[in-house]
Symmetry: C2
Subunit: 327 residues, 2 copies
């Protein structure tokens, strides 16, 4: 056993350890529980490892700090929660003090913008790659928690913002062509990759409207649609021609490649959520002021185990169990 | 700048990032805040790195899991808090799946014993040493939080349990003498090092009695007395002849070396707390049923910046600013 399977096994084991009877959202973007009636605590954690999740040649320490908090905030956004207190752990080599100070500054930039307070942490030595762990604790209204296990037939699938930009930025970095990297039109793609802006306000607005089902796009859109389908036990059609592709990704890579990056690349940190058909106008109006909302698919029926069909031009171009799609 | 200074600088920076106006316990064993009136959330995090905090040649995966949770639980114990929900992050090499599964089992053993629920986490790949981060969230009664900044003149300094065992266990491991390691009298020392039992019940009892000031002994007793002195701005005398040394540490290393290990070795995870002189009998009676409580010193006066004097046989054998003691 190796690769993703190995890690999924461990994640499954961890989540089975001692499921909280009063817990919500186990296996969701974040864990949630009620310490007292009327209060709902939401908590999440993400660990970033140098060489696996970031490269110091590509990422400034300040951007690393921003992103390490952003990925956690995005999990809270997907639950409709508000930040929050953060605990930051860092394992660093001797000599990386200044680097870590700059990292904290970038983290602090996003903390201030989002009302997150850094209340503690741990700073330890290592002999290996830099490791940053953020644990983030937020709150949600008890009857307003967004989950991934409640998509229902008759709902449409809606995506915030634009997708493909972060994966396009990563593709440029992997390509390593300094001329292309220096061109002004690449800047939004690199920013999308290095300094994603979690959709906290959109998540809270979605929750406040009484919608129930959302996930953040940390993997590609196809994969996240698959997570919704599996958790909810539904079949989803994803109309790939309707994906709101980032124009800079289309300009630099062409539409087909930009679509592939959006479907399978990930790290866009947009929200993918479901809306009863009749409430679509209300939702787009409510979100319209702050973020574009695009219908990208539909929940077509119950389907134990989940299923996602990718549609292009009205035809199914690929379908199957989530996790096995070529995209 | 190198060594401890470097890390203290970063820790100080992190804690200054954006101090919460409604926060308590910044710079304490754990952070605490009130999400709603009448509720107090307490949170802490610790990161353990292979080769720095543990060695896989010495520590079984099961013990590693136990200890990674125990050190966090001890921080909650020192605040008088109850666990709690835990988020576990692990960075592992390919091929370490079974090891990490066993680690989770050890962690789960202690979680069950202490009423801690593992509600989430992150499992990621690394190319370097194994890294385990635990973030732990607990609760405390708002008027019953133990802190390190409120030791007052006229109070005596009390220590739970016995000290020196964990450092003696580590000394045996460093020594690497297989004959000595195999002897039955070393077992309690190795257990103390690998599977410390956080003093949660004692911490809660101390808090319930209305006492206010405590710290856990993660560093040596002299160092922890120093932390209390600095945070509270008091002078403390520590009567080193009164330290409750673990008998196995004395038997194997002699009394003088066992005392040195207790003062400077650390990782005993006992509680060091202060008691108004007149309430000592009440406290020892209340704790007597579950844990030994020994008077080891006294808060002798106010002292901005803090001070600790080590006393032996009634004479000061060493004194000065905490952090500069040879012990």
């Amino acid at each position: 056993m190796s690769g993703a399977d190995e890690f999924e096994l461990i994640a499954a084991l961890a989540s089975r350890l001692d499921p909280a009877q009063d817990g919500l959202g186990i296996g969701d973007d974040a864990a949630a529980w009620s310490p007292t009636p009327g209060a709902l605590v939401v908590a999440t954690t993400d660990m970033l490892v140098e060489g696996v999740h970031f490269r110091l040649e590509w990422t400034s320490p300040r951007d690393l700090g921003w992103k390490s908090l952003a990925v956690n905030l995005s999990d809270l956004a997907a639950m409709g929660a508000t930040p929050g207190r953060a605990l930051i752990s860092v394992a660093l080599l001797p000599g990386q003090t200044r680097l870590v100070e700059e990292m904290y500054e970038g983290l602090s930039d996003l903390a201030r913008l989002t009302g997150t307070r850094v209340v503690g942490g741990d700073t330890v030595r290592t002999s290996g790659p830099l490791v940053v762990n953020v644990a983030l604790i937020g709150e949600a209204a008890p009857d307003r928690l967004l989950r991934r296990d409640c998509a229902a037939p008759g709902e449409v699938l809606v995506l915030t913002g634009e997708v493909g930009a972060s994966a396009a930025g990563l593709a440029l970095l992997l390509e390593g062509d300094r001329d292309r990297l220096g061109r002004p039109e690449t800047a939004p793609l690199l920013t999308a990759h290095h300094r994603p802006m979690p959709r906290l306000a959109a998540g809270q607005a979605i929750a406040a409207m009484g919608l129930r089902c959302a996930i953040d796009v940390s993997d590609g859109v196809a994969s996240e649609a698959g997570h919704l389908a599996v958790a909810s036990g539904v079949a989803i059609t994803l109309e790939i021609d309707r994906l709101p592709l980032h124009p800079a990704a289309v300009a630099l890579f062409g539409e087909a490649e930009a679509r592939r990056l959006a479907l399978s690349g990930g790290e866009d940190y947009e929200l993918l959520f479901t809306v009863p058909d009749g409430r679509l106008a209300e939702v787009t109006a409510a979100l319209g002021g702050q973020v574009r909302a695009t219908v990208v698919g539909r929940v077509v029926g119950l389907r134990p185990g989940g299923r996602v069909d990718l549609l292009s031009d009205g035809r199914v171009i690929e379908s199957g169990q989530p996790g096995y799609l070529a995209f």
